[in-house]
């Protein structure tokens, strides 16, 4: 029996052999089927769902139609990209043959493989890189709209509804962008080569994790046309159940994104555990690998909870349930708990890979071993372990279980100990090294500075009485931008410059990397230091207008934000110009010792001709003393 997916033999009479189905599917068929799916599901929902009955908790039928349409979009899109071909084959008791697997891996397809369901981890890495840049571009434009609106007191030119929608979308899209900014591009492209593997443990799951995010992004963007996400990125209930249909876009976005994160988490963790090169024992495994694994492994307990919290939110909106509705026996505090059980590990999901990437670069640019490898691992492990026990420090002032504030203050402040170890490792590596000043080297210093400020302000906030004054103010906004952007994004931008030669075969333009670095770092510190002060003086977060006393601080922040924008645009230009016309990169431009620099440019399809055998760790720099 043949299936429709089998490659038909060339039949005489046709001038060319007919293309098999898997060769026809790409991003365009995915979008086409997705749109068709959305339309079909919309009309089906309209036909079969009973009209809203008074007295139920359902606000309107709109939410049902929107959620159904998005499910239709999702199913259509994933079918159209070819994600279902593999599972479908299994149902028929077959699997893909060798040719098809090679096709999936993107063999001999040139640029086209980037627009397909391609399983090669290097293609997925590049796809993630471009996707991350697109997300940051959108999130950045929204940030500039926010800052422009806050340029002067008394409300700007945006309508309150529009402003709130922009704040919410900026928040959630940047969170997603920063979650994938390192483990996506570099975790996929670099990590398998770094551990001496030919691909990921589950290449098809790898493609799946990427295309799930691409399916999710239109859901969040569509919310702009459905009234927006007017709840901030946390989407607290019952405000979220009151919000327009844009909220359904948020819910679907999170559900699909959480699926992607779970899939990627399982895949990356398995790859690192099972596929390290011969001889790469745990104490010879590069620290970046630890960072990536800690990050995605943390996502494993966190994101199912996120998924669930949004399913329940969607049911409250569209199916008349009352999980979060006090009138029906639910509680908004339940939502807050579920949200932060995801939300606090999530900040370390973002932060740890950024720090670990800079730890990986520190020995390379100081030409000496990483200082205290074991403490680095202890730091990462300690942070990861504690981070699942601290969620309710986001809820000190909610009034939920005041008796638990003390215990949560304890677990939260304990995190400062492993965090301190990360500082010790970085500063210890810089100490008495031979400094080779590049943009990644400078980023280590920038990280120390920014993360110090982000960390210490975090200690103030972790103290319950102080949080009583600062919670919900701009101080908190500045604090977490210092950690996620000042530390996390700094690590990601350094990673971009550092691994660019391996990923694109060309050097990142040095001058542009420096210009971008200084604009971003100076702008960042101007913007967010002044934000601390308006927060201290009492400006709440997420407001579109403020008292005149906050004018000066906000004006300075807006000025800083424009500097950041200039820097990011320079870096974007740097990516484009270096990628298309940059200097050809040698195999190992940084004279580093990790395995990814031992493969030629461009990296061949299965990375290594002969799998490497590892006999030492990658940090043997420096002259041995006799």
């Amino acid at each position: 029996m043949t299936t429709m997916m089998d490659r038909p033999a060339a039949t005489p009479g046709h001038s060319a052999p007919k293309k098999a189905l898997i060769e026809r599917l790409n991003i365009f068929t995915a979008f086409a089927l997705g749109i068709i799916g959305a339309i079909v599901f919309y009309y089906v929902a309209k036909a079969i769902l009973p009209a809203n009955t008074d007295g139920s908790y359902i606000k309107s039928n709109n939410d049902q139609y929107v959620i159904f349409s998005m499910i239709g979009w999702f199913i259509g899109f994933m079918t159209g990209i070819g994600a279902l071909i593999g599972p479908f084959r299994w149902l028929l008791g077959k699997d893909l043959n060798h040719d098809e697997n090679m096709f999936y891996a993107g063999k001999d397809q040139g640029v086209k493989r980037y627009f397909r369901y391609t399983t090669d981890h290097k293609v997925v890495g590049i796809q993630y890189l471009v996707l991350t840049m697109i997300i940051f571009f959108v999130g950045g434009v929204l940030a500039m709209l926010i800052r422009t609106n806050l340029g002067h007191a008394g409300g700007g030119w945006l309508q309150p509804q529009t402003y709130n929608a922009i704040v919410g979308t900026h928040g959630i899209i940047m969170i997603v962008g920063t979650i994938i900014m390192i483990t996506g591009p570099f975790g996929n492209f670099i990590m398998p080569i770094m551990i001496g593997a030919r691909d990921m443990a589950f290449p098809r799951l790898n493609a799946l994790s990427l295309w799930l995010i691409i399916a999710a992004v239109p859901c969040i963007l569509s919310s702009f046309f459905l009234g927006g996400i007017s709840t901030g990125w946390v989407a607290y209930n019952p405000l979220a159940s009151q919000a327009p249909a844009g909220m359904d876009g948020y819910i679907m976005f999170i559900c699909i994104f959480a699926l992607s994160t779970m899939v990627a988490g399982a895949n990356i963790t398995t790859t690192v555990i099972k596929m390290r090169a011969k001889g790469m024992t745990w104490n010879r495994t590069p620290i970046f690998i630890y960072g990536v694994v800690a990050s995605v492994a943390l996502a494993l307990p966190a994101f199912p909870v996120f998924f669930l919290s949004q399913v329940m939110s969607g049911m409250d909106r569209a199916a008349g349930s009352t999980f979060y509705n006090t009138m029906g026996g639910g509680s908004g505090w339940l939502y807050e708990n579920l949200f932060w059980i995801m939300g606090h590990p999530e900040v370390y999901v973002i932060l740890i890979p950024g720090v670990a990437a800079l730890m990986e670069m520190a020995p390379v640019f100081t030409r000496r071993p990483l200082f205290s490898f074991n403490l680095a691992i202890m730091g990462i492990a300690g942070i990861s372990g504690l981070s699942i026990l601290v969620w309710a420090h986001h809820m000190y002032t909610t009034g939920w279980a005041p008796l638990l504030n003390g215990p949560f203050m304890l677990t939260t402040e304990l995190i400062s100990i492993p965090t301190g170890l990360l500082f010790l490792v970085l500063i210890g590596t810089l100490w008495r090294g031979r400094l080779w000043m590049t943009m990644p080297t400078a980023s280590i210093y920038a990280l120390l500075w920014n993360f110090m400020i982000g960390g210490i302000t975090g200690i103030y906030l972790s103290d319950v009485p102080v949080d009583g004054a600062l919670h919900g103010s701009m101080y908190v906004t500045a604090h977490f931008h210092y950690t996620l952007m000042g530390a996390g994004l700094t690590g990601a931008l350094a990673s971009l410059v550092y691994w660019f030669p391996k990923m694109t075969g060309r050097m990142f333009d040095k001058t542009l990397s420096w210009i971008g670095f200084w604009f971003v770092q100076i702008g960042f510190n101007i913007a967010f230091i002044s934000m601390f002060f308006v927060g201290l003086a009492g400006q709440p977060r997420r407001v579109e207008a403020y008292a005149a006393m906050f004018s000066r601080g906000n004006m300075i922040t807006t000025g800083g934000a424009y500097l950041i924008m200039a820097g990011m645009l320079v870096l974007l230009y740097g990516v484009i110009s270096s990628w298309t016309g940059g200097v050809k990169a040698p195999m190992n431009p940084w004279f580093a010792k990790t395995l990814e620099w031992s493969v030629p440019n461009p990296v061949p399809l299965e990375n290594f001709d002969v799998l490497p055998v590892v006999t030492s760790d990658a940090y043997g720099y420096g002259k041995a003393q006799s």
Partner: protein, 255 residues
């Protein structure tokens, strides 16, 4: 003496980089501590309650406790930056050592950071207990607070049926707020008193303060609550007991 003997290594404190670092450490600790503590405390503005004064004091002390750590990292970073730096497209010479660990230093670091952490936790807990105990004060007056999109209502339940949109409080009298919401979650925040707790629909939450300074203060919503969240703010009038009684009477209540 054999001339094969290696030249005596200078003791740690004679080394130039260490001396530089110690010098920077002292300077940076002073600058960071003073700047961060003073600027932050000053921008927190006037304090209208002991809670707020304690909070400002805690910020100051935490800053001074953290300053030596931040100062040390900054000093070490600065020392590495003023040593020989190599620019260029190829790497400099390898460092002259392969040191991978410094056990004593690491242990010291770990112990110091643990002690500081413990200090913060213990002090925080002590203050927290005091704040919790204040909720049970039998001498305190009671005010019911109701948040709704986008206004606050205050019921002075000890004084009959008086309701207002601005909050009036007598000076030096402990007050316990019982807070709830009619619709979504709001954040009840009296800025200059350093107190904050959410107003949740269907539940009552509590917080307390003792205003200790006559004046007009800001009450702002601290939890995004929809369209006009930014404008959900009002004034807190802290007045003398006599003025308060007069105001209550003018509103039809009993003082």
């Amino acid at each position: 003496m054999s001339d094969l003997e290696a030249p005596k290594r200078p003791s740690v404190f004679e080394r130039k980089d260490i001396k530089q670092t110690v010098y920077f450490w002292v300077v940076f600790t002073a600058i960071i501590g003073y700047a961060a503590a003073e600027l932050q405390a000053r921008s927190m503005g006037v304090s209208a309650s002991e809670t707020m004064s304690t909070t400002i004091h805690m910020m100051r002390v935490f800053t001074w406790v953290a300053a030596p750590i931040a100062g040390l990292v900054a000093a070490m970073a600065m020392t590495t930056l003023i040593s020989k730096i190599h620019f260029g497209d190829t790497p400099p010479e390898e460092a002259d050592h392969q040191i991978r660990n410094a056990t004593k230093l690491s242990a010291t670091w770990l112990i110091v950071s643990s002690v500081l952490c413990l200090f913060a936790v213990v002090w925080g807990t002590v203050v927290l207990q005091k704040d919790n105990a204040a909720l049970l004060n039998p001498q305190a007056m009671n005010v019911n607070v109701t948040g709704q999109q986008w206004a606050w209502n205050f019921d002075y339940i000890d004084n009959g049926t008086v309701r207002s949109q601005d909050l009036y409080l007598p000076v030096n009298k402990p007050v316990v707020f019982h807070i709830t919401s009619k619709d979504v979650i709001h954040g009840f925040w009296i800025v200059q008193m350093g107190i904050k707790v959410d107003a949740n629909p269907g539940y009552t939450t509590e917080t307390s303060a003792t205003p200790n300074k006559i004046g007009i203060y800001d009450l702002r919503c601290a939890e995004l609550c929809g369209l006009y969240h930014a404008f959900m703010q009002t004034k807190v009038h802290v007045v003398s007991q006599a003025d308060y009684d007069a105001w209550i009477k003018s509103q039809g209540g009993q003082a």
